[in-house]
Symmetry: none
Subunit: 162 residues, 2 copies
């Protein structure tokens, strides 16, 4: 019993972003953050998100503390090596801070909206310490392509012990 109490504390305490949600962004660029994700953020005592471009055609969103980890990693990158500077310009350089409003929405800045080509239906994908925001059609096309050779994907993953 006490064991289960400890276990519960741990699972409840270790909240991470997970799950797929389809929400719509409106003409003005406002998008609801899934309430489960807001719960995760509230454990960090924040209603702010850092949003930036991914290397894929989607956006990434971080709680500030996890964003800082990215910043720390970035600061250790080279200032001349091409991949490093591209990463810094693209990912670090396009980051913006967004506040969640009283109904749980954010305004996705226009430049980021354009980059990810967010139209109406957006897919919000929780990935542990961050989440991604995709236009749903783009995500589906991406996944369709990604899964178009399921057998070799299975083989590759099986080799990793999955």
């Amino acid at each position: 019993m006490s064991k289960s109490a400890i276990w519960c504390q741990w699972t409840l305490g270790a909240k991470v972003f997970k799950g797929h949600y389809v929400n719509s962004i409106n003409e003005k660029g406002r998008l609801s953050i899934p309430s489960k994700f807001r719960d995760v953020l509230s454990q960090w005592n924040t209603d702010h998100l850092i949003i930036t471009k991914s290397l894929d055609k989607c956006l990434m969103a971080f709680a500030y503390e996890d964003w800082e980890k990215m910043e720390r990693k970035a600061s250790s990158l080279s200032t001349v090596r091409k991949a490093d500077i591209i990463f810094k310009r693209h990912v670090m350089g396009s980051a913006e801070e967004c506040q969640i409003d009283s109904q749980g929405r954010i305004l996705v800045p226009a430049s980021l909206r354009d980059y990810a080509d967010l139209k109406k239906k957006c897919l919000i994908v929780g990935i542990v310490d961050r989440f991604e925001i995709w236009d749903i059609e783009i995500y589906e096309a991406y996944m369709k392509d990604a899964l178009k050779d399921p057998e070799s994907l299975r083989t590759e993953l099986a080799e990793l012990g999955l």
Copy 2:
């Protein structure tokens, strides 16, 4: 004394999901978890399930402890290698925690329902450390196809020592 020995034996046996059950999901996405499976979960002291997308057109459900094993494997995967990130987005990214309600049902989140195309009759298949949720028609079509070349399947499985 002997009572507790019996109990231990029984719990070890009961910690495994097995069997096929056909239950129906309603318009709001609620689905009864077979009571045998609930018994298995109670051996883990939990009434929560982690549900996520399979590579097939069905869902997978785990008790939290087994899900953690998946998370641990996933966290060791690359953030750039294609197969790895596809797996993380598809399987890890779509995972959701569902609580079993007082009548033994869960609400299957909309995006997962859509993915597996769950309509009315669902097949729930216990597979040792997890169970799968299929739309029954999709499962039947899948199995029909899977078994249409039984001989090569036999050959492959024989190679694994079965």
